[in-house]
Amino acid sequence: MDITAQVRPPRTAFLDYPMGNEIGRPNRPDEQGQIVRSAFAALAQMTEPGTIVDLGFRLDAESPEGKPWRDWVYTKEFRRYHMKTRDGERPA
């Protein structure tokens, strides 16, 4: 949300989920449906340019070590485990 607040798109529906789950978790069509539909429903509230609405969903998930996901995403440990380098390989 910090980057979005700086970039200022006309209207933003924010989902407080990890990157890669912008529309929810895999093979959960009900969850995905709720997320997308609530984003569209939020349009009615977005009457001011630059509005950011938090859709209000919260995820109770953990890293492999049992840490809350918020503490873990986009740390060096997370990147090693979960992401690729620009050469398409696992980071060191």
Binding site: M1, R8, D16, G20, G33, F40, V73
Partner: protein
Amino acid sequence: MPIDYISRTRELYSPLPPYRWTDNRDAPVPWTPLTKPLSDCRVALVASGGIHLDTQPPFHFKDDTSIRIIPTSAETSRVRIAHFGYPTSDAEKDPNCVFPLDVLREMVKDGTIKELAPDAVTCMGGIYSQRRVEEELIPPVVDKIKQQNVDLCYLVPA
């Protein structure tokens, strides 16, 4: 508390110099009022999660400013993911996580929206050059959306 991605990204990529995201806080926000109910709207889908069809080449990761055109009637099972800047394993299991084709098609069926633009536009958003984004990536995206006479454009980041 939403994550402070700016400081976390800085830490993650240190000792590289900090990346400077676009800052539009002093600029007017581009704005078109929505004047129709959703049930009358044609909606376009634009997504930056490195999404492509199995018959299309994947994105590369060194400032790839190309786009892919994906029919919104495409089978979800033919969708592939090529990106480095986010964990892609969930999207690889189910592309709807970053490319909500199934949900949007349901929303047309039940009349929540009138229709989907026939073509979705995708890119690989992990591009460090803002100039190349503005000069190379954005014009074809805008053209494709404008050609389809839409009322709303749904931008899904990843």
